[in-house]
Symmetry: C2
Subunit: 215 residues, 2 copies
DNA sequence: GTCTATAGCAGGATAGAC
DNA sequence: GTCTATCCTGCTATAGAC
């Protein structure tokens, strides 16, 4: 099975809570709904996590962060096939890790939804998201790309470009339904790889500007 | 005053509802909170809108859509200064309309939050968002840019590029706090105009690929 | 149109048996 | 660790006075 149901109550609660929170948001999910989905009793959340908010934070600590590390490892594994990765390889690895690697569509949607919710409407969990994942991710990419670029490069420009790449990957990840609607095309594997090609070529051309001297 | 308090109860409800829904989301806001903020009684929402969900939809119809049209008008006004707008002008007008034109920071944040929430967690309101705003916006931009591009252009590529531009503008709009955190820099007007310059140059270079012949 | 009062129910949390 | 029973608060929605 892709996601075997844990035999331990605490883990079942975490798993179902993550699924439901990512679909509906913190406020829209009741503890009754979670405990029913996890096939246990109403008191289980308070016993294992103290309260609902603490369960939400635990979802980030114990499920979201490890999965983000999974994406990071997929990204690194994808890159390690190349002996001397060029910038295009790095961007492709990153886009691939998010859009078709590392996990199933549903899992990715769940993962991105939780993150987006925290970015648009921060709770305490945003600190985990930024410090454990977003900041290290930026650091990784920046240091990987930097060697291919001029030494006197404006670091701020590079960082803005990385944000641009992330913005595209996130948007093409979460706005799939809208994109399908506007383009009149299913988001099937063929289209997905077309999107990745687009992101890579758009980003590579976009980053050309980094090497140009500008006053 | 920037946002004069309407003397009519219905409009006060719409105004406060929009503010609160955009900050916390539909489920996290209670009708008590809205009616209190609108300085009226608990029954007012049911009287004027029937129920809470209908109030939410009315916010989109009567406040969100008109404001989106305001952004569109700002965009067009900005462009009309140029007699023959080039693609760079169009992208700059679009980014400027979202990031520093048309409305205050708070109003823009409110506007984008409502939209993002619908894109990531659609309710009935997503139909309004896509059909009234996103689709027409794509159409406008596509038809404006097209004359500067080769006739045999792959329309799908152009559409993907427009999505990329939108993704950057949205991301730089909603992830401001995270960007400030990662870059260690305030999102002041100076930085904002730097961001717009970045988006324009990244997008222009990114779209270079459109003219190139590719098999 | 506006308000008070309240019905009727779902929410999170807890106590205490097993 | 697990469960049932229950508390009490807060919710949406409505009835009916003014």
């Amino acid at each position: 099975m892709a996601t075997p149901t844990p035999d331990n109550t605490r883990d079942r609660l975490l798993m179902q809570a993550e699924r439901l929170f990512s679909q509906k948001g913190f406020a829209a999910v009741s503890v009754r709904e979670i405990t029913a989905a996890a096939d246990t009793n109403l008191a289980a959340i308070n016993y294992h996590f103290g309260n609902k908010m603490n369960l939400y934070l635990s979802v980030f600590q114990e499920r979201w962060v490890p999965r983000a590390h999974g994406v990071r490892n997929f990204f690194r594994g994808y890159l390690s096939k190349k002996s001397l990765p060029q910038t295009a390889d790095i961007v492709r690895a990153f886009a691939t890790a998010f859009l078709e690697g590392a996990m199933s569509d549903d899992e990715m949607r769940c993962h991105i939804n939780l993150m987006l919710r925290e970015l648009t409407h921060p709770t305490e969990a945003v600190n985990i998201v930024v410090s454990e994942v977003i900041r290290p991710m930026h650091h990784d990419i920046r240091e990987m790309i930097r060697p291919s670029l001029p030494e006197n490069l404006d670091i701020e420009k590079l960082t803005l470009s990385i944000f641009s790449i992330i913005s595209m990957i996130l948007y093409f990840g979460f706005a799939k339904p809208v994109i399908s609607l506007v383009m009149g095309r299913e988001f099937d594997p063929q289209f997905k790889s077309r999107v990745i090609d687009h992101i890579v070529s758009f980003a590579m051309d976009g980053m050309n500007g980094l090497s140009k001297e500008e006053t």
